[in-house]
Symmetry: C2
Subunit: 357 residues, 2 copies
């Protein structure tokens, strides 16, 4: 049996059809067994394919007359799902015409469309957006939720932990990934009620869970290589992720300025270029592109709106890997094992208690 | 009239009396007009002062028999306020024996003790912890709250904005600092109810406020030099601050590794050392040490628990500057002008709405 196709929303993102198609072509070279369904304005896709006969040979083009813009609200996007490239790419997964969808479009719209079309797995109340982040250790870490759910209760956080661990096992090969809840301290009294309840639930269920759970981690420790899965609500996760991205760029900018500050430093920079190129490669967000909505009946990957062709190719590679490794089935199995459906519903992060007072 | 004294909790922090005293001595050299009240174990303070005759000449020692530990809960700390170095340093501010207190101890305990002893300014419901962060621009930015209040409502956020702007005017010299609320997107529908209400309140009051307010900023943009004050709840602020600190260290570690990866890179590193030293200096948290509790009847500065003597000296310098510039009086004046006491009380951040759905 050939592997299922990957549907590409060729219109999404700030960068346009050519970058999406070039990215898909790069991915095709790495994953020769995969076929592609390219969804969007047919004329523009066909034109872009002229430079990529290798991709063209492995692709079908599906014309979509409309596009979701960055300004569309999720509710507006939902109404136009059937005629837009994003909606039709996700629908292809629902219909079985593709095994996964990749889009660089509006995150809120992609979440809403995916949730409505694909529905959540049994035992999952809400999907979560998960991404891989670089660490000082041997493996990348999985962080979720990164913005799909502004508000989360303890039950959501427990489900995120189970889904994140399943993803991490695929990425790291570990039997029991190290899972932590993101908090503002590691003491048990710190943080919100939802965090404390989720920590207790995960500790109580740890015998059935294929993870090593140990309460909390603070945001300055996440990339030391001491944790494989960082679980948080979508508001805090989005803040943390963007703070990490912004600071990496900030430090790189400072470094550039420092190297330009004297002739001696400029010469040193030229000599040590392999080192700074290595760092640049390590920090380039394109090398970590491809966030996945976990918890759906199907694989949906979000590519960053400003990713280049290499970034798009990496997002497609994430989709290909999750298909090959049966992520959806593995999460479903884990959920059954722990009986996640029986987890007690509990207070929202809303009900934050002031632990510092 | 001589300037008021600065009370130093000589026992707080992971590093002990010697570092606190050495830091105070460094600060004394920079601020010759200031006097010090050194609070803690008298024998150890006197021993540490032997190497610092310059500080000894400007100091009085106040013996405190007890110490707040890092594990003490705020409630436990409050009960022992009268006999601990932290409690007695803050009490010195209350009694007028000092104008400001500096401690490297337990943040939650320092917040609880300071709030009870000094009370909040009229129009302020809760104090907020504010710190300066480096940017690519000409000035540092003020960020608050950094963890004093896990949960915040719109009214708290508005008060934080007013207090942060007052602090920023002292730091930047700007008449109308650029103030933004930290959010997961810049569109008006993004984030929590509390954020949206606070944004509307600040827009409505902008004629009376000495600030330039423009809605939201995302965490990856805070250090670009485009904003002077970043306002957020204590949970998100703590996550953002620690993510920034952790990532700066992460990138520095990667850079060190890259430079060590080949002989050529090592040589390049040696040649470009002035550049990397410049970067190291810029990123050293000791150079940005000293977070202040804004909104109290008095100045209380938190030094990082692991700060070195230079870091402690910087925290003391923050206290000295805020005394010289009459921060407390300026915040009180701003609050009167905007009539902050009349701001409508509104939904907690708890009542987060899922904007992405």
């Amino acid at each position: 049996m050939s592997l299922p196709r990957i549907a590409i929303d060729a219109m999404g993102g700030d960068v346009g059809v050519r970058v999406m198609i070039e990215g898909a072509a790069l991915a095709r070279r790495r994953h020769e067994r995969f076929q592609f369904l390219l969804v969007g304005d047919e004329a523009r896709i066909v034109a872009a394919l002229e430079n990529h006969p290798n991709l063209r040979a492995a692709s079908e083009v599906l014309h979509a007359p409309d596009v979701i813009s960055g300004e569309d609200k999720p509710s507006q996007a939902l109404r136009r799902a059937k005629t837009t490239s994003m909606g039709m790419a996700v629908d292809a997964v629902k219909q079985g015409a593709a095994g996964a969808a990749v889009s660089a479009g509006n995150t809120g719209a992609l979440m809403a469309i995916s949730k409505l079309a694909l529905r959540t797995l049994p035992g999952i109340d809400r999907p979560a957006l998960a991404a891989l982040l670089p660490t000082l250790g041997a493996n990348d870490l999985v962080m979720l939720d990164l913005g799909a759910n502004t508000e989360c209760d303890a039950r959501n956080l427990v489900q995120f932990a189970i889904m994140g661990a399943a993803y991490s096992r695929i990425v790291t090969g570990l039997e029991a990934p190290r899972v932590r809840l993101l908090n503002i301290g590691t003491e048990e009294i710190k943080g919100t009620d939802a965090l404390r309840v989720a920590a207790n639930e995960l500790k109580a269920a740890s015998a059935e869970l294929a993870m090593s759970f140990e309460n909390f981690i603070e945001a300055d420790k996440i990339n030391r290589g001491e944790v494989d899965v960082v679980v948080t609500d979508g508001f805090s996760g989005n803040i943390a992720l963007k703070a990490v991205e912004g600071t990496a760029r900030f430090v790189a900018d400072l470094l550039r300025r420092s190297f330009a500050s004297s002739l001696r430093s400029k010469i040193g920079f030229l000599i040590s270029r392999p080192a700074t190129e290595l760092l640049k490669h390590h920090l380039d967000p394109n090398n970590h592109n491809g966030a996945v909505f976990l918890g759906l009946n199907g694989v949906v990957v979000k590519s960053h709106g400003s990713a280049n062709a290499l970034g798009v190719a990496n997002a497609v590679a994430v989709a290909a890997r999750l298909l090959e490794e049966n992520l959806t089935q593995r999460i479903a199995t884990d959920l059954t094992r722990v009986g996640a459906d029986n987890l007690r519903p509990t207070g929202r992060t809303a009900a934050k208690s002031r632990a510092a007072e």
